[in-house]
């Protein structure tokens, strides 16, 4: 049993000299003196998207896609110094051409392309291939060096088309209505929640939201994004007025008193981890739906191939396996450790689902 060895990192390759490096603060471009998604305070940060493991506090300047503006302000404070660009728009810093391109991960998410003297790097951030109709369709960008996530970098992760998942969710919602139960659907407040809201069949009933989700919705609507109508659940909320409702809430709401007002309810979660039986059984909710905002195994391979990259660096997820796989396919690849987290297991094991627990078998 020997750990998979990957080839020596790109730092050792002369052709990389200068453009991007992995430092203790994050991915660094010395030539332009900018960091990409840094995890420690820096002067200039390029931000791929608004998730908290990529967009952190404390940088002097932020550069991101225009649809990330309100989200960053909401999460990091109104007074941050922020500049935005459109997809494909190019900014030049000390000879480095920098541009943002759709990553399909969440609204405002981008791959960041850096070019200097004919050498092109792309930092993927997080991405998915399937177009969710909200986040902009993932566009492959040609490059020599591709820094990729690989949260789901094993061949056991293969997503089914989202329409099938939404059909399942909508059927479940209808079934709950028949049984007189409220439907509670759990997903990250930024990204997954909006994708769910857009995939729901609004002829079945009204969509209610947890405050954390509604805050994000509001920020996005301020940026001109159109979302299905939602009703925020406030403390004086009266359940009786909303028959047949579905509630969209973040993982932190599962197992809390907040859910009690919806009793009786059936609770489900949408996550890529639900693709495996173990996590599906371990979850403490009634239903698990396989829906992820990250690329699956075929997606990762497709992205690498379409980028035409000669060298691939895997950052978070099953990095060792994916890098070794690419090396064996003839694409040079290595692993760099970052503080990016990928898709977190959304509900902790053992947390209470809140639904009625009758006797369990021993």
């Amino acid at each position: 049993m020997i750990t998979d060895r990957v080839v020596a990192g790109p730092i050792n390759q002369p052709v990389f000299m200068g453009l991007l490096q992995f430092t203790s603060k994050g991915i660094y471009c010395k030539q332009a003196d900018v960091y990409i998604d840094p995890w420690k305070s820096v002067e200039k940060a390029l931000i791929t998207h608004g998730h908290s493991d990529h967009a952190r506090h404390g940088h002097k300047q932020y550069l991101c896609h225009q649809h990330s503006r309100s989200i960053l302000k909401l999460r990091l404070g109104k007074n941050i110094n922020i500049q935005t660009v459109k997809y494909g728009e190019s900014v030049s810093i000390n000879g480095v051409d920098i541009s943002f391109h759709p990553a399909g991960h969440i609204i405002g998410s981008a791959q960041i392309r850096l070019e200097y003297k004919g050498c092109v790097w792309v930092v993927s951030g997080d991405y998915k291939i399937e177009d969710d109709g909200l986040s902009g369709a993932y566009t492959p960008i040609k490059c020599q060096y591709f820094i990729t996530e690989c949260t789901f970098g094993l061949p056991v992760y293969k997503w089914i088309p989202q329409q099938e998942v939404f059909d399942d969710i909508n059927n479940w919602w209808q079934q709950n209505n028949k049984e007189g139960k409220t439907t509670v659907l759990i997903g990250y407040s930024l990204g997954k929640a909006q994708r769910l809201i857009q995939g729901l069949d609004t002829s079945i009933g009204p969509i209610l939201t947890h405050g954390a989700v509604e805050n994000i919705n509001q920020a996005l609507r301020d940026d001109g994004i159109k979302l299905n109508d939602t009703v925020s659940v406030t403390p004086d909320f009266d359940k009786k007025k909303f028959a047949n409702a579905i509630v969209v809430a973040p993982p932190s709401a599962a197992g809390t008193n907040w859910l009690k007002k919806f009793h009786p309810y059936s609770i489900g979660i949408a996550s890529g981890w639900m693709g495996l039986r173990g996590p599906r059984r371990r979850r403490t909710v009634d239903r698990g739906f396989v829906l992820s905002d990250h690329a699956d195994w075929p997606g990762l391979n497709q992205a690498v191939q379409a980028s035409g990259a000669e060298y691939v660096i895997a950052t978070h997820g099953y990095t060792n396996a994916f890098a070794r796989w690419l090396n064996e396919k003839g694409v040079q690849a290595s692993v760099e450790n970052t503080l990016f987290e990928g898709e977190l297991p959304e509900i902790k094991e053992g947390s209470n689902s809140g639904s009625t627990n009758d006797k369990t078998e021993n």
């Binding site: 049993m1 998979d4 061949p155 056991v156 173990g278 053992g350 627990n357």
Partner: protein
Amino acid sequence: MQRFTRLFNELDQTTKTNQKVQALVDYFEEAAEEDKIWTIALLSGKRPGRSVGASFLRVWAAEVGNIPDWLFEESYHVVGDLAETISLVFPQAEKKMNRSLTYWINFLKNLRELDEDTKKERVTGAWLQMAPYERFVFNKLITGGFRVGVSQKLMVRALSKHTGIDENKLAHKLMGNWQPEAINFKQFFFSSNPEEDLSRPYPFYLAYALEGDAEALGDVNDWQVERKWDGIRGQVIARGKKVYVWSRGEELITEKFPEFHGLADKLPDGTVLDGEILAFKEGKPLSFNHLQTRIGRKNISRKVLENAPAVLMVYDLLENQGKDIRDRPLSERRKMLEEVVKKTGCEEVLKTSQIVKSQSWEELGRERQLSRKYYSEGLMLKKTDSTYKVGRKKGDWWKWKVDPMTIDAVMIYAMRGHGRRANLYTDYTFAVWDGDQLVPFAKAYSGLTDQEIIAVDAFVKKNTIERFGPVRSVKPELVFEIAFEGINKSSRHKSGVALRFPRMHRWRKDKPASEANNLEDLFALLKQYGG
């Protein structure tokens, strides 16, 4: 097989007993008769014999899925289940077909005689007709191991709702040697005169462990107390001039125990004894390891017979003179039992489990602490007026085990769990000190709460020294109290000892690694209790 797959999924996805039973009842209402029989068989642990080895399946799946070996291995460690891994790495279905459960079982049976290439062609062809989850269930049919968290008890409950037949009656019908391919649902369950099966055992009555105070059980004189022996629980059946030996796992093990064959002439026709099969020599039981040499082997050599002669430590009489006497009180059954055993004159192989007499619970408590001296695991408490029930029931029978042996040990390796816990480090290796070295001596994966597992998992991830595939060596810092039921010499283990049922008893957050036990402490236990 889509209906069966749905049932499997429903059973798999809930821990609620009522929902499981309901899912089964719904299935029985909807499924075809022959599929029902197979479902009952599968959930009773009967399998359609193995037609393809799991290692072939894995090679074929990797080959067609274009996955190198190491990547399959890596995936397997994350998924935690071979059948599931195969079902997932294989390419998507070309055209989904819905064939019945029985169709696929016959399909598998017909594979058995074929050569490897043809098997491969057929199995991969079958995979290509199935969605991943159906494929997973199909693979489970091939590899066995249908663990869906449904006990036979639950299945019988559902079947009882479906057929209207009493649960105990059903449970008895389902014991023993019936062949799913040879029976018909209606005939099997509804015919008034079912084919007599001489070998059919009774469902075992099992006791729960006593937690809390024995005093709470009331008057000590209302209880029959015996030692709890550590062997194989079994039934010896004498009917029609033949002897049958069954294990609690409902396996017919007559062939493994020639010692009992002579009982065919000695026991009266229509006798069923419940007891513990023990390896026994010079008036005392040998360790369970000795007994294992009897089970693991195809042919029982003279040498094995000499080294580990078997006896039946008889607990109970279930059938007397062809009559089911399970509803008679224990005190009566015991009297009849003593008579029956005495009349055989076979004290060499039939030993009546002795009654431990005492005046008070306190006295019994002391007796319990002496259990290891008698090579037993503790005491059995049985109400003298108890009937012989079906399955694990609370109230009339209790096992009152001796406290386990314990050792404080340091965790040095961690491995990812399987199945439900595949993303967490849940399986640990423990070591004791030998001078300034840590010597591994036990692996354990159970005994912690979910919260503790999450905490240990976080520790492992933060304190990894080296990674070896799914295993990590970790900083020797965490101390756990390891409890176990037995200790034996072992040349196969680095430490020189092998433990029986090691598990984590307590996380000793109060102890630094330096205060864990050492190898000498283990050897002292070995000297005292080892066999």
